[in-house]
């Protein structure tokens, strides 16, 4: 009984991590309409900045806040300095993808030079057991991640469906030209979306670093899972991302159960590949991907 509950807890914790990066990637992917690899930098910047602050004696809350602010700046900066100008010059989504990949490689290598390639434990934390329920052990990092996932999902759900900004975001995502004609500054909305996604990615990165450790390549690893989650979620918004994250984590758990832990990430990519092939062959693309195909 205790082992089964522990598996459920671990799967839920994994799913909440995927959901966090999935939600942040969804925000930029829906409005940017390209595979923004540079988004991984927002994820990895926050824990490193927070680590630097904490090492210099700042309290954890201040270090976390500074880390998340740095991620916001990375997200906003990538849009304002790089993507906006390329978009204005009519660059295709493939050009944007390659540019984002180049920016990511520069950022990751800068971190690698500054902090080295070895995994670094986040200061002042650990996977200490905080509570035991039905024989399952909950660590503080797992509890924080589940809480953050629920709170951010609720916040984003409210923001996109109940606020004026959410309406503007959906308008720009669905039809930028029409949104501009109706007086919406699509450049400003895209910038704000990148800042928001940067904040969510930064929180996800810090929580992941608290749970295990951090290294300069963690951003890309996490983003890849975020891509899997968003693709599987299709055009079903934040609830779709949450369900997709749970499904991917469950599929991975089942895959690891019949194979070994080394197959953890591979099972997710096999799922993504099969899912996309089936979707392409059976339905000719649905939702978000049908509209993406049409725009290309």
């Amino acid at each position: 009984m205790g082992l089964a509950v522990q598996h459920v807890v671990n799967t839920l914790s994994t799913a909440s991590g995927y959901a966090l990066i999935g939600m942040s990637f969804w925000v930029v992917f829906r409005i940017g309409r390209f595979l923004d690899v540079c988004h991984a930098l927002s994820y990895v910047t926050a824990p490193y900045v927070a680590y630097t602050m904490a090492r210099s004696g700042a309290p954890v809350w201040l270090a976390t806040l500074t880390g998340v602010s740095a991620s916001v700046l990375v997200g906003l900066g990538s849009e304002q300095i790089l993507f906006r100008h390329l978009r204005d010059k009519g660059a295709s989504s493939l050009v944007l993808l390659l540019a984002s990949f180049g920016a990511y490689v520069i950022g990751e290598n800068a971190l690698s030079i500054a902090y080295g390639d070895d995994p670094i434990p986040f200061p002042g934390t650990g996977g200490g057991c905080t509570m035991v329920i039905l024989g399952a052990h909950f660590t503080s990092a797992q509890v924080w991640r589940l809480f953050a996932c629920g709170a951010i999902a609720a916040g984003l759900g409210f923001l996109f469906s109940r606020t004026t900004w959410g309406t503007k975001y959906r308008a720009v995502s669905d039809n930028p030209q029409l949104a501009t004609i109706t007086g919406i500054s699509h450049a400003m909305v895209i910038g704000q979306a990148y800042a928001l996604a940067g904040a969510v990615a930064g929180i996800a990165g810090i929580l992941a670093a608290r749970d295990t450790f951090m290294d300069s390549a963690m951003g890309l690893q996490a983003l890849l899972m975020g891509v899997v989650v968003v693709v599987v979620a299709g055009d079903h918004g934040i609830p779709g991302v949450l369900l997709s994250a749970a499904g991917v984590a469950l599929f991975q758990f089942l895959g690891v159960t019949v194979t070994s832990s080394g197959w953890h990430n591979t099972t997710a990519f096999i799922l993504l590949f099969l899912f996309m092939v089936c979707q392409a062959l059976l339905k000719d693309g649905t939702g978000l991907f049908r509209s993406l195909s049409a725009s290309n």
Binding site: R33, F34, L35, S93, L94, L97, L224, V227, V228, V231, T259, S260, G262, W263, N265, T266, F269, I270, L272, F273, M276, V277, A280, L281, D284, G285, F289, L292, S293, S295, N296
Partner: protein, 171 residues
Amino acid sequence: MNYALHILTLVAIFGVLSGSLNLVAGYTGFVSIAQAAVFGIGAYASAVLSLRLDCPFLVSSLLAMAGAATAGFALALPSFHIRGDVFVILTFAFQFAVAGVFNNWVAMTRGSVGLYGIPPAAIGPWVLTSRQDYAILAVCVLGATQWMIWRIVQSPFGRVLMSIRGDEMLT
């Protein structure tokens, strides 16, 4: 000198890979991240056939090419329905799935340790033992593949590929 020959061999090998990517992405307009996976399938198939079944170099190479071509064809099937970013994501999923299989199927690929002790290549009486031999073979293969690609591009089939890049619907 050995180092220079090693670099020359690598340049020739990656020149062959670049040529194949140019055919798919450059002439046809399908940006594929999975070309590295197809490259790996060919490499592993050839090495496994040589190591485990004692296949001669030419036979293992031909079978490996057939395996890689089959993988490429299977990957191309969904491209009838999807294009652009979605196809890039599909190839990206294929790339990471195949890389994961290479790393985790230890019984077949020896995982991250890799395959070693592969018998030296032999073409008839010519047994390739030195770096110079491998450099000569690699440069010859590079020349042959570039010539084949050039012939394909000049042929009616090549013009079809380029018209797909221009307007698939019209093609």
